[in-house]
Amino acid sequence: MIKLEPELNIQSGTPLLEIINLKKYFPVEGGIIQRILPTQKDYVHAIDDISFTINRGEIFCLVGESGCGKTTTANILVGLEEPTAGSFKWKDNLISYQDLKPKIKDIKSQIVFQNPYSALSPRMRLGDSVLHSLIIHNRVQDKITLKRLKNAFKSEIILFISALFSIFLFIISFMLDASSGFLIAITAALLFTLASGIYVNYSLIQKKKIADPRVLDLFTEVGLSPALQYYFKYPHEVSGGERQRANIARAIILNPELLIADEPTSMLDVSLRAGILDSLKSLQETHNISILFITHDLATARHFGDRISVMYVGKVAEMGSIDSIFKNPLHPYTKALIEAIPTPIPGDKAYNLPKGEVPDAVHPPPGCRYHPRCTYAKFPYCETEEPELRELFPNHYVACHFPLNSI
């Protein structure tokens, strides 16, 4: 059991959100026989007692391999998942996990999802998608904005009907074949087309008024310019990077204090990634948002984050500032991860790679969870005793019996 030590709170900057002894177990649904018979139920230990603090205005990275509980943590923090146990401290106010869900709106957290292709509704214009989150959260007080939204559709319907009507008149006039009736019909049709044309032109000017100025400002800020053009585009008309920018705008428009970015760049190409991260960083600085940045890519975390927490099978293995962890990794797992990433330097080789695979989270190994793969493990100590997260250097925590500086 990790005890929350008082040192954990003393960080540079004031804490925004503290997560204390968070646990999340998913029950394993067995077959019919297992359900009928009163056997012992198995649980996936997705998150097993983790604690960390996110400070105001910092970028906190959560890294680890797939299945280590990163995304579950994110889902809990935006209220998509209910934790098994644990409590939260939001700006020094303790909130138990039972009260979390109704208070999730008070905890102003928003999420940017991994897949920009499925996170936006294909039937909504980008601008409307962003505005929609304001409507859902009852932030659109004026009814005019809502009316404008409806008007946008009305203009298109009027154009369509008038075009249909003029075609109808043409056909009628040819069928009648009376010269005077023909002339009248032609003039009427022309008038209708003219009127509808004027209306459409007018509605184009209207578009500027329809578009919500808050959304337009934000679009320029996240790099979607000219904003007015992007406002009326559908998701399929723009590229993946632009879609992710719209996703970020949708999260930011609610003025969150905590933004959770769940692998926002892993679906994007390398040449676009840095652009998205750049806009995230500038947004973070101008709006003073804290970001929980979840990623499996340590290289991105190294250049983007302020503090980092490395997770392994539901536990925090190492936590500290980016610089001290990457220069001086203390946990063998962290070191292996850093070594394993292919660097863009030919001839650079990885050493001391751990063998085997990530263990089953249903029956995690006893003692240190990394010991079956660890090249430094000492038996039987690592096999029996679970290491506590302890502070070896200022602001550098490690959960290992034999941290690498002692070898």
Partner: protein
Amino acid sequence: MTSSILSSARKTQSNDRYYNKALLEIKNLIVEYPVKEGNVRAIDDVSLTLYRGEVLGLVGESGCGKSSLGFTILKLLKGGVIRSGEISFNDINLVTIPEGEMQLLRGPELSMIFQASQNALNPLQKVLNHFIDTLKTHYRWNDESWQKILELLNRLEIPESRLEDYPFQFSGGMQQRIVIALTLILNPKLIIADEPTTALDVLVQARLLEILKEIIKEYDLTVLYITHDLGIVAEITNRVAIMYAGQILEIGDTQTIFQNAAHPYTRALIEAIPNVKDEEKKLLSFIPGHPPDLRNPPLICCFADRCSYSQDICHSKKPQSINLNFENGVQHKVKCFIYDDRYGHLFDQK
């Protein structure tokens, strides 16, 4: 000092081992996907030579045509049409030979490792059956086969006891190893590896890359390694081809590409990759804009709109590929006006 020795060592080695005999030669290949609004030109005038025993990396962003090229070589392209060009493999033109003969080449001669290995395995069949099926389909099942299967499993570090397991009982990394073993059992000459490690975790990926490297050497394979990750390319390949908007913008020795890239796109791409072993935190650079629409592309340089060096000439003509001479003697080609004698003076800086 050491680097010069290394490079000279590389030179002799490279001349000995590679570049003797071409195994696969692609000439002026054009592949298009007919769609409603015209033709999407996925592969635009690509010429490429694969030498026996080398690992050629094919790098590019998503949608640049790298997977299309892989599928074209195996003639497994769905919806695409080969408009012109030639693919000669051991003096056989793969573009014109009938499907029946192509079927005989797939497997024992040319083979492919797919991106999502879990989809390549039959969920209803035990792993052992996969091996037997593969060998029997290609009429190669004999008394020594059993020995060969065990040898390969041993080599790829798959425990023998797991032959009776179903694919879902394996982890992603293990499944990928099984797929590689299935590919190798027929002794192909050329393997097209289409992002074989993309879906895997870093540690598993690193281990698999090590195994792949050893196997390529042992079995003397020729590999076309398709990936978007320049880090993997730096680790595993001898030569690299950089692909963008259906064209190969630069091709050359891996060492040269990473240290002395010629094309502005290659340079920008290499700068955009974060390196985990950097001493200091730094701002990452990126390439503004996005790749061009490949529906009926205009005859200009495809990278001109995003290039920081671009001049008027780049927006009016299509560059031809130009041979560059580097010390190590490996052929280096680049498609850029900067290196063209006729237009080079238009650019202030190189």
